[in-house]
């Protein structure tokens, strides 16, 4: 009987090291690739064009331009014009001839997608359906405020039916 108990004890000890990998994987920290910012977000370009620069090819400031906003005639403080395109992802390949461009800007902004006005709601969210041609399509999304500031994002989408 003591022999059996001894054998069981030895088995217990050996079992604790049976599969250290399998036991340890529950606590593995995800690699950096799973927590890094999405490449789509990094690829997105938003550029601000102050009104004074529209007729001359001067360097453009990247991102939005709170400083470029001029004082308005109203008492409320001006909000910095922003533009964030959510879909489609830049440099994407799609298999449908019509896609919906969605994103956010400030409420009251005018947004165009390839020159067509997009519907902007009270939260500044917009969307616009556009038809694609087969092959590469360059999509220009431009937003502006009533002071004449504008920001844009240029996306490339390839339609492969």
């Amino acid at each position: 009987m003591r022999g059996i108990l001894f054998f069981v004890s030895v088995l217990l000890v050996s079992c604790s090291g049976l599969n250290p990998v399998g036991l340890a994987t529950d606590t593995v920290v995800p690699p950096a690739s799973t927590i890094a910012p999405s490449p789509q977000a990094a690829a997105r370009t938003v550029t601000a064009i102050p009104p004074a620069e529209k007729t001359s090819p001067v360097p453009q400031a990247t991102l939005t331009s709170a400083q470029a906003l001029r004082p308005t005639e109203t008492a409320s403080p001006a909000r910095a014009l922003v533009l964030q395109v959510k879909t489609p992802a830049d440099e994407s390949i799609v298999d449908t001839p019509v896609i919906t461009v969605t994103g956010t800007t400030i409420p009251g902004a005018v947004v165009s997608v390839d020159g067509t006005l997009a519907a902007v709601d009270s939260k500044g969210e917009f969307q616009s359906a556009i038809a694609l041609e087969e092959g590469p399509n360059v999509i220009e999304v431009v937003a502006s405020d009533d002071s004449g500031n504008q920001v844009y994002s240029i996306l490339t989408v390839i339609y492969q039916p």
């Binding site: 009987m1 059996i4 108990l5 054998f7 069981v8 088995l11 217990l12 079992c15 049976l18 599969n19 990998v21 399998g22 036991l23 994987t25 529950d26 593995v28 995800p30 799973t34 490449p39 789509q40 990094a42 690829a43 550029t47 064009i49 009104p51 004074a52 529209k54 007729t55 453009q60 992802a89 830049d90 440099e91 994407s92 390949i93 799609v94 298999d95 449908t96 005018v110 165009s112 390839d114 020159g115 067509t116 006005l117 087969e134 092959g135 590469p136 399509n137 360059v138 220009e140 431009v142 502006s144 009533d146 002071s147 004449g148 504008q150 844009y152 240029i154 490339t156 390839i158 492969q160």
Partner: protein
């Protein structure tokens, strides 16, 4: 006898536990999503759809040959061969041609693969800045379906060509009047300084 049976029971439990641990599926936290995506971002600069044998390349032109050009992508260089059937979409030039491509151009290329890279079906040059622009000002002259001139806050003027397709959005009316504050969305016609209005938004006074 009781202790003997207890020992045997323990042994069986341990054996089953050990079996389960050894043959359990290892966790797969980075398993790719299943199913065919409707949209496949190719942020590495090149994408391959092996099923349809079609390729797409996004990148910068880093070399130009007689009937080839090299596209530098984040994945590496891709040699693109053009044919007489290749179509070109160049923002400032219509119709575009191979001779209009330049070093440093950002391009998107669609085509079919060959041994050396890709045979281009379509090439699009991505503009550095949009061809669409918004202009805000007060209407100083207006002729429906013909032209509109506005004066901006700094006193500058701009005249736009209007067409029947020009969309007019006026929340408190149906048209445009002189003195209205508007945003004109326009497209610069390739190879000219003419701006055609695609839309006009009338701002409330």
């Amino acid at each position: 006898m009781k202790k003997f049976l207890l020992g045997i029971g323990l042994w069986v439990v341990l054996f089953v536990t050990a079996f389960a641990v050894v043959y359990a599926d290892p966790p797969t936290p980075h398993q790719p999503p299943r199913g065919k995506p409707t949209s496949s971002p190719a942020s590495n600069g090149a994408a391959v759809d092996k099923g349809s044998k079609r390729h797409a390349v996004f990148g910068t032109i880093s070399g130009l040959g007689a009937n080839t050009f090299t596209v530098s992508t984040k994945q590496g260089d891709v040699l693109v061969t053009v044919t007489d059937k290749t179509k070109y979409h160049i923002p400032t030039i219509r119709p575009g041609a191979f001779g209009n491509l330049a070093m440093g151009d950002q391009v998107a290329v669609n085509g079919t693969p060959n041994d050396s890279g890709l045979i281009a079906k379509q090439v699009a040059v991505v503009p550095g800045k949009p061809t669409i622009q918004h202009r805000v000002g007060t209407v100083s002259a207006y002729s429906p379906n013909s032209s509109l001139t506005l004066t901006d806050a700094k006193g500058g003027t701009a005249t736009f060509v209007l067409t029947k397709e020009t969309e007019i959005r006026n929340p408190k009316g149906s048209g445009v009047s002189i003195g209205d504050k508007v945003t004109v969305v326009s497209r610069r016609e390739p190879g000219s300084n003419t701006f055609t209005a695609t839309a006009i938004v009338v701002h409330p006074k």
